[in-house]
C-alpha cells in the first residue's frame, strides 16, 4: 500500500508539472493552431534562470524559501520574455505561410535554443540546489510523499486556479477565448489579435518556467536537454486531454504522470519514456480529439 501511495504521489507531482508545461502547448494551439516545438526549451530556460538566481542568492546567504520564491518569479519573467521573442522571430512572420513552414521554423527554434544554452552554459549536468526544505509536519507522510512533491502539487494547483480565473474574468482572458474560437471575428469586433497571441505565449511560457524551477529543485540537476523530453511528454499530455482545452491539459498531465509512475513502478523502469510515447500514439489512433477535446468539423 505504501508503495502504491508512493507511486500515486510521485505520479501526481510529475503529472502536475506536465500539466503546467502542457498548458503552454494547449493555449498556443488553441489560438494559432501551431505546435510550439520550442516550448520545451522555454521550460528548460526557466530552469536555468532559476539555477542562476539560486546560485547568486545562495552566495548572498538568503533563506531557502525566499530564494525559491524569487527564483520562480525571475524565471517566469525571463521565460515569458523568451516566449514573446520566439513568437516574434519564428512564428509571426509566417502567419500566412503554408502549414509546414511555422512547424519547421519551430523545430529550428527548438534546436537553436538547446544549443544556445549548451554553448553558453555547459553540455554537462549542472547540480541544482534543493530549494524546498523538509517541513517537520511532513514527517509522518515522509515514506510516500516528499515535501517537494507536496510543494509541486500545491504550487501547480494554485497556478492553474489563477490561470482559470484570469481566463474567465479578465478582459484579456475574454479576448483570448474569443480569438481561440474565431480569429477573424475577434479581429472584427476589435480584439487586438497580435496582442492576444503575444500574451498567450508569455503566459504559457511563464507557467512552464514554474514547472521548470520546481522540477529542477526536485531532481537536483539540470542540463540543456531536459526540455526536449519534458516538452514531448507535456505535448502528449496536451493531446491526451484534447489539445486546445485548458482543463484537458490538466487532466492529460495527471493521467500521463500516473501512467508513467505506475508503469515504471510495476512493469519496468527502463522504458519510462517509451510508455509516454506509446500512450501518445494510442490516443491519436483511437481518440485523436483527446479526452476532453471536441472533434472539429473540417472546413471545406
Amino acid at each position: 500500500m505504501e508503495y502504491f501511495l508512493q507511486l500515486f504521489f510521485s505520479g501526481l507531482s510529475k503529472g502536475s508539472v506536465y500539466a503546467l508545461i502542457a498548458l503552454g502547448y494547449t493555449m498556443v494551439y488553441g489560438i494559432i493552431e501551431l505546435i510550439n516545438f520550442a516550448h520545451g526549451e522555454i521550460y528548460m530556460i526557466g530552469a536555468f534562470t532559476g539555477l542562476i538566481v539560486a546560485g547568486l542568492l545562495t552566495a548572498l546567504g538568503w533563506p531557502v524559501l525566499a530564494i525559491l520564491a524569487i527564483a520562480i518569479v525571475v524565471a517566469m519573467f525571463y521565460s515569458g520574455a523568451y516566449g514573446y521573442t520566439v513568437e516574434k522571430i519564428a512564428y509571426k512572420p509566417l502567419r500566412n505561410a503554408p502549414r509546414l513552414a511555422p512547424l519547421i521554423s519551430a523545430i529550428g527554434m527548438s534546436i537553436f535554443l538547446q544549443n544556445y544554452v549548451m554553448l553558453a552554459q555547459t553540455p554537462d549536468f549542472l547540480p541544482f540546489p534543493n530549494l524546498v526544505p523538509d517541513f517537520a509536519f511532513m514527517q509522518p507522510f515522509k515514506s510516500f510523499l516528499g515535501t517537494s512533491d507536496l510543494f509541486i502539487i500545491v504550487a501547480s494547483i494554485v497556478v492553474m486556479a489563477a490561470l482559470n480565473l484570469f481566463i474567465k474574468f479578465t478582459r484579456m482572458g475574454k479576448a483570448m477565448r474569443a480569438t481561440a474560437q474565431n480569429r477573424k471575428m475577434a479581429l472584427l469586433v476589435g480584439v487586438n489579435v497580435d496582442h492576444v497571441i503575444s500574451m498567450t505565449f508569455i503566459i504559457g511560457s511563464s507557467l512552464a518556467a514554474v514547472g521548470g524551477v520546481l522540477i529542477a529543485s526536485h531532481m537536483g540537476q539540470i542540463n540543456f536537454y531536459i526540455g526536449f523530453i519534458a516538452g514531448l511528454k507535456a505535448f502528449t499530455a496536451a493531446v491526451l486531454g484534447g489539445i486546445g482545452s485548458i482543463p484537458g491539459a490538466m487532466l492529460g498531465g495527471l493521467v500521463l504522470g500516473w501512467t508513467e509512475s505506475f508503469a515504471t513502478g510495476y512493469v519496468s523502469s527502463d522504458y519510462e519514456d517509451v510508455f509516454a510515447f506509446l500512450l501518445l500514439v494510442l490516443i491519436l489512433i483511437f481518440r485523436p480529439a483527446g479526452l476532453l477535446g471536441k472533434q472539429r468539423a473540417q472546413k471545406v
Binding site: 503554408p98 509546414l100 512547424l103 538547446q114 544556445y116 553558453a120 514531448l232
Partner: protein
Amino acid sequence: MAAESFVKNLKKSAVAALWLSFLTMPIMVIRVDTVEKTIAWRWMHLVWMLVGSFVFALAWHFLMDRRDRGGAATDANVEPTPSRFAVWLANPRVNRPLMALGLLFATAFPFLFSVYQTNILISALIYVVLGLGLNITVGLAGLLDLGYVAFYAVGAYAYALLNHHFHLGFWAVLPVGGILGAFFGILLGFPVLRLRGDYLAIVTLGFGEIVRLVLQNWDAFSFGPSGVSNIDRPGFFGITYSVDQATTYIYYLALLGVLLAIFVSGRLKDSRVGRAWLALREDEIACQAMGIDNTKAKLLAFAMGATFAGFMGVVFAAKTTYINPASFTFMESAMILAIVVLGGMGSIPGVILGAFLLMLLPEYMRAFSQYRMLLFGATMILVMVFRPQGLIRARRKIYKVNINTVDKA
C-alpha cells in the same frame, strides 16, 4: 526615402539589440556552480551579444523590408517566376555537361584525394540519399516526418545483427535493409494516416525516440548502449580488401546509391504517383475529392522514404563497422530535415546541394563545428522566413502534348 527607412531600421535594430542582450544576459553572462559555490561573470559575452544582435537585427530588418516589398515571394498562393539563373540551369545544354563534369569528378575522387577525404565524402553521399528519401516524404508528399532516422537505424541494425549472429554478408542484407525500412515505414504509416500535419510530426518524433530507446535498453537484442562492433565490410566475390581499398569500394557503393536515388526520385516526381503526392501536399481535401486515395498515397510516401533510409543504414553500418544507438538521435533526423528544407523541398538538385553544404561545411570549418547544430536551427528558421522555397526552387515538368492526337479529336 531609403535613407529615412535606414535610420528607422537603425533605431529598431538598436532596440532589438538591447532587448536581446537583456534577454540573454543571465544565461550568456552568469555561470553558477552551487556545489563549489562559485559564480563566473563573463561580461565579454554581453559585448559580443550587443554587437552581434545589432548586426543580426539590421540584416533581419533589411531582409524583411525586401520580403515585404517583394510581396509575392512570401505569399503562399502565388508562384513567382523563376530567376534567370534557374532558367539557365534548367536548360539541358547547360546542366547536362555540368552533371557529366560532376560525375567525372566524383568518379575520380578516391584517386585524387586521401582516404580521410574520401571517408568524409562517403558520409556526405549517405546524407544525400537520406535527404532524397526524406524529400519524398516531406518535400513531395508534405508529411513532416521527424523520426526519419529510425528507419536508418532499422537498416543499420539489420545488417549489424544479421552479420553478428548469422555472418550474413553486405549484399545479402542490403535488400533486407530496404525491405525492413519499407515495412517499418508502413507500420508507422498506418496509425498516423488520419492525423493532421502537426500531429503527424510529433508522433513520428515519438516513434523515432521509441526505436532509439528500445535499441538502447533491450540489451539481449541490440547489445544496449555499447552497440555492435566488428561488423564486416562489404565483400566482392569473396575478395578481401585492405582498409583503404574497402573505403574506396564503399565510396563507389555510396556513389551508386546516390545515382540510383536521383534516378528513382526523379522518375517518381513526374509520375502519376508523384503528382498525387504533390496534390496531397497542396490540398488534402481537394486531393481526395479528385479521386486520389489519400491513405494509399501517404503510405506509399512513407514507405518509399523509409526504404531509402533502410538501404543507407546498411551502407552506414558497413562503412563504420561499429554502430550504437547514439548515432540515431533526434538530432540526426533534424539534420536530414534541415538538408531538405535548406536545399528546397521537392527539389532534387536542391537537396543534393543542401546535403553537401550542411555535411561538408562543418567538416572543413572545424573551428565552427561546435556551432553546427546552432547554425542548423537558425538556418531552418531563416530559410522558412526569407526563402521558403530553399536554395533551389523545385520546378515542375513541362509535359509535351502530342499535337496529332489532340488535333484529331
